[in-house]
Amino acid sequence: MQETEERTAAIVARFAGVEGATLPILHAVQEAFGHVPRDSIPVIAAALNRTRAEIHGVVSFYHDFREEPAGRHHVRVCRAEACRAMGSDRIVAGFEAALGIPLGTTSADGAVTLEPVYCLGLCATAPAAMIDGKPVARLDEAAAARLAREIGR
């Protein structure tokens, strides 16, 4: 707990002098910890002269910020219109079956998180997904199954 606060303080210090630093700080904290730990919030609030409630409000507003760690691997399948037009329902089902977890959840062993995303800007090569930051497109069910195997569950 002590360590979380110290590491958070070091991150916050990097943004001294940056106007409106809340989002950059939260991104950096999440990058360091994999999520925004509860114990980071008072440190951030104090540094920015804001209330804990305000910082919590920001964390909870944005889909990207998570209060619990994600899985070691992160699979995001696009569910927006262009990918729907190319059968993203089947891609979602393919990942769900291969990974053995429903969309929007993390596996019990913490290996993988499967989440929806609403547009990756890969709409002319739909359907698309992003796996650990790497974009993949023109997917079919077989590709989803292969990609799920590759992330090594």
Binding site: E54, Y62, H63, A80, Y118, G121, C123, A124, T125, K134
Partner: protein, 524 residues
Amino acid sequence: MTARLFVPADAAAIAVGADDVALELAAAAARIGRSVEIVRTGSRGAFFLEPLVEVETAAGRVGFGPVAAGDVESLVSEGLLDGIGARSLGLVEDIPFLKAQTRFTFSRSGVIDPASLDDYRAHGGGLGLARAAAMAPAAIVAAVSASGLRGRGGAGFPTGIKWKTVLDAPAPRKFVVANADEGDSGTFADRVLMEGDPFVIIEGMAIAGLATGASRGYLYIRSEYPHAIARMQAAVETARRAGWLGDAVAGTTHAFDIEIRVGAGAYVCGEETALIESIEGNRGEVRAKPPLPALKGLFGAPTVVNNLLSLAAVPFILAEGPEAYAAVGYGRSRGTMPVQIAGNVKRGGLYEVAFGITLGELVEEIGGGTATGRPVKAVQVGGPLGAYFPPSLFDTPFDYEAFAARDGLIGHGGIVVFDDTVQMDAMARFAFEFCALESCGKCTPCRIGSTRGRETLDAIIAGRDVSRNAALVEELCDIMRFGSLCALGGFTPYPVMSALRHFPRDFGLPETAAAKAAARETAA
């Protein structure tokens, strides 16, 4: 002789294997003892051809694509390194999809090395900024006004008027905000440009700084675009070293610098006041207007908030003159629009073209119809808040006013094509679902209306009290349209009502005359 090859490092090209193709090309060349230089460009936007490999020849760049990593060995043995082979597409510039475009903003994307400012300059980059540096601010604003440029985020507000408002607002500091929170499904023009020609964005922002007296710019990029973020961060560093940004922009006495901000997965932050809140470090909640951001925007200062594409159009306008930009277009929509054709389409990609081209030409002729080969049933134009158009309305010209007259919008220029297997009641339900998911919660019509709308669509889909519930949806859409603070709640009725109006049978409702005509077109 060293062969010079070009392989896109655009995220969509990488998503279909461009990195592996580049590796294979290097390996295949090495195996036959040929030296190669592989330039990683952005994409030209012809995504149906990606990964598109280009080879420099005496006649010009010759293309091959789409290339799979497994094809590389045989392509090289057939002569790819010399631009030869039965599978050659010929000169890239002559590919019909590319040749017929009017590329004002995207002239360099896919052509140049996006990491090289020298390459940018060698292809005409920087001329606009040099011109602007020698002009009075009011003259720059006048040029932008004369070009007829309108906001490419979707609202279509005249860019020159916005800039003039900020220029005329006395304040100790002002800001330029470039909106690259490109969340609309079916749009990717911002992404392609950031990855393929990042300096044109920096140039456009710097010109906006000179024109309005702003000394600081923020480029707000959505987090779903990691490749674009990395490319823009590197480009800003390079531009600083070259003196394009800093205390003396392009040799002037004007200071201007750019900070890149990364979104956090909130669609509503594409709305300008929510975006301002997000940069300030708050929940991305929409502000009531007035005050206009141009007078009281970021940190309370006068702020130009422009879509990235609006700003990127400005260097051309300054370099070639506003008349050259205004010379093409349709009605009050002057210049070009980078139209993005996506979804279930044979030839998907970015197509920059003068306003006035019809929706049908874009979908059928340029896009080539559906990828599945089935009839087109509907296209959604303008992102998740845009209307669904049936083929019976394909004569609509691409123009802000013409789309508004048919209860639609062009938005950021995205077209998503659906074949006849799409269920429009499910798409209407999704529009409400997405609105509920992304609503900032500030105004009631959007926050509550979206959820009630989804529930009512669920009832319709289940066949309960269909005509009564359809009337309820219509009434709800009226309230959302006129009672919401911003376009999220205000425009969600577009996809819902267009689906209901044009495809009543999908909702279990009796056919109307208009919908009958639409059905005949689909069958034809």
